[in-house]
């Protein structure tokens, strides 16, 4: 695995933005070549716990930053870590969004919670392909970490991302049928799938699942599809929502 050091971190409620950098001087380093939809497997130095997959929020000439929800042992550890601490990563893994999306089309992108990271990265990599973007959070605590102009806060407006999408679709005038790309919790993705059938739009979802190796070999992160069992890490994380067998 590749050594990387925590450069800076900001924590707000249960979210964390962490910036990592390589030890080598920027002049000698090569930027990480990662595309929206791909992820890195990140682990700490000491504990023998599996590396965890994280979508990057952004990259720079000598590292990357991630947006993480603090939910488990690794993320808890990271939230307590100090700048300069050593971590390890490998990757990138996963199929880039661009390989499964027709980039001659425009997309309504939706991110929920830390599912915002790959969507914001996609928005940045393909600004001309974004029809509208909705990034939803339960509270506005995220404002203390990063500015997100597309953000909507359920605690302030009472609206979920689906409510906002619904409002947008009801006033939308566009000859092209809407195509939605979403990343968030399984609950959000399932609710969007039901909504997509009601409102008749095409939906791609980027799934999150507990992973083992992150490379497709251990078969630890399955999703049931109409063409058999696929791995979120290798065949995904993006899937056409019509391909997924949601009940398993």
């Amino acid at each position: 695995m590749i050594k990387i050091f925590l450069k800076a971190k900001k924590v707000s409620e249960d979210f964390l933005v962490a910036e990592f950098e390589h030890e080598i001087p920027p002049a000698e380093s090569k930027p990480i070549f990662i595309k929206a939809g791909q992820f890195l497997m990140l682990k700490n130095r000491t504990e023998p716990i599996l590396a965890k997959p994280f979508s990057v929020l952004s990259t720079n000439e000598n590292g990357f930053s991630v947006l993480i929800k603090i939910i488990g042992r690794f993320t808890g550890y990271l939230s307590q870590s100090k700048p300069g601490e050593l971590f390890f990563y490998r990757g990138p893994y996963g199929t880039p969004f661009e390989q499964k999306l027709d980039l001659s089309k425009k997309f309504i992108t939706i991110g929920g919670g830390c599912g915002a990271a790959p969507i914001l990265f996609f928005n940045k990599q393909y600004p001309n392909q974004i029809e509208k973007s909705i990034i939803g959070f339960k509270t506005d605590a995220i404002q203390q970490l990063i500015p997100i102009k597309e953000a909507v806060y359920e605690s302030l407006t009472g609206q979920t991302v689906i409510d906002v999408l619904n409002d947008y679709l009801s006033t939308r005038y566009n000859e092209q049928p809407p195509i939605v790309l979403a990343c968030g919790s399984l609950g959000m993705c399932q609710a969007l799938y039901s909504h997509s059938k009601e409102k008749n739009y095409r939906l791609f979802v980027s799934l999150d699942e507990r992973m083992g190796c992150g490379m497709g070999m251990c078969k630890g992160c399955p999703v049931k599809t109409k063409s058999g069992i696929k791995m979120v890490c290798k065949d995904g994380p993006i899937f056409d929502s019509d391909e997924i067998v949601w009940e398993w």
């Binding site: 083992g212 049931k224 069992i229 290798k234």
Partner: protein, 308 residues
């Protein structure tokens, strides 16, 4: 570039020369496609395929992996495309890997094993493992691997069908000596100790088991002392048995412990998930240890058996 002193790590088992005692265990490394793109498998001793069953198996619904202290609980459920598809699409890749390969087979029925073992005779893979102990499937009747009579009957029959070395894989058991005795009496060529013991985790918020099947296979460093003891016990009772020790190996010191306990070869499973580069680091570590202490494979093998 670290130079590996192969002369210190060479092993000869059943007349077969093996580069070093490091084995990629069945499961976490799949069938080697992804791992071979990450590491040079020619540096490793043996590779074990993911366990294959006669019929296609979808495996278990997610979650399949849960972190616990000392490792993970896994509930993969032997996901595989079935033996026919395996023979058509996976075996050609395994055959061209730059190291010897063990094909891992599972079933609760002798008849199914017969079909698979016979079909492997025509292929250039070297070894066969009978996985009698997957913790994550419950199809069919009582598993073969806990019943010495069934083990004897199955192994004895399968030995008449193949000339390839036949290994039998068990989970940790209080009756391991009986199970190994049944295998060896039926002329099994060796045993793999140990598969994952069963374990579980409960979500204290929902008050339910996290895994849909309630339990799974406990893998990781926490099981090493258990598997190591199984190896030690079996070696003490069966001086000449071929033993592949596996369970919780994450560094070269773990491999040395298994060798000293009496394992001829040592498998890495969870460790490959932890870090796909780990098998290479372990070979380097073993080579470094042997060189620094002017030892070789023979001078550490079984050494802990004669501690008194």
């Amino acid at each position: 570039m670290i130079k590996v002193d192969n002369d210190r790590l060479n092993v000869e088992i059943l007349g077969i020369k093996i580069k070093n005692p490091v084995v990629i265990a069945s499961g976490p490394a799949g069938n080697g496609e992804e791992l071979s793109s990450a590491i040079d498998l020619s540096k490793i001793g043996l590779f074990t395929s993911k366990t294959v069953t006669l019929e296609k198996t979808d495996g278990n619904p997610p979650p399949r992996i849960v972190d616990v202290y000392g490792g993970i609980i896994n509930s993969i459920g032997l996901q595989n495309p079935g033996f026919k598809d395996f023979m058509k699409n996976q075996i050609p890749f395994l055959e061209q890997l730059p190291l010897q390969t063990i094909i891992s087979l599972a079933s609760n029925y002798l008849e199914e094993f017969e079909v698979m073992v016979k079909a492997l005779n025509d292929r250039s893979i070297e070894w066969i493992e009978l996985n009698f102990s997957c913790p994550n499937v419950d199809k069919g009747k009582e598993p073969i691997g806990t019943n010495p009579d069934k083990i004897y009957e199955t192994v004895k029959c399968l030995k008449t069908l193949t000339k390839k070395p036949l290994l039998v894989k068990f989970a940790p058991s209080e009756t391991i000596l009986e199970l190994v005795d049944a295998s060896i009496s039926a002329r099994a060529d060796g045993v793999v100790l140990s598969n994952c013991p069963k374990g579980m985790k409960i979500d204290i918020h929902t008050m339910k088991p996290i895994l849909k099947r309630e339990y799974g296979g406990f893998a990781g460093p926490a099981i090493k002392p258990i598997a190591l003891h199984q190896v030690f016990q079996v070696r003490k009772a069966f001086k000449n048995a071929l033993i592949i020790g596996t369970g919780g190996v994450i560094n070269h010191e773990d491999v040395l412990e298994y060798l000293m306990a009496g394992a001829n070869l040592v498998g890495i499973g969870f460790g490959v998930m932890l870090d796909p580069f780990l098998p290479i680091h372990i070979v380097h570590g073993l080579s470094g240890y042997m060189s620094a202490n002017d030892l070789n494979y023979s001078s550490v093998f079984c050494k802990a058996q004669s501690h008194r």
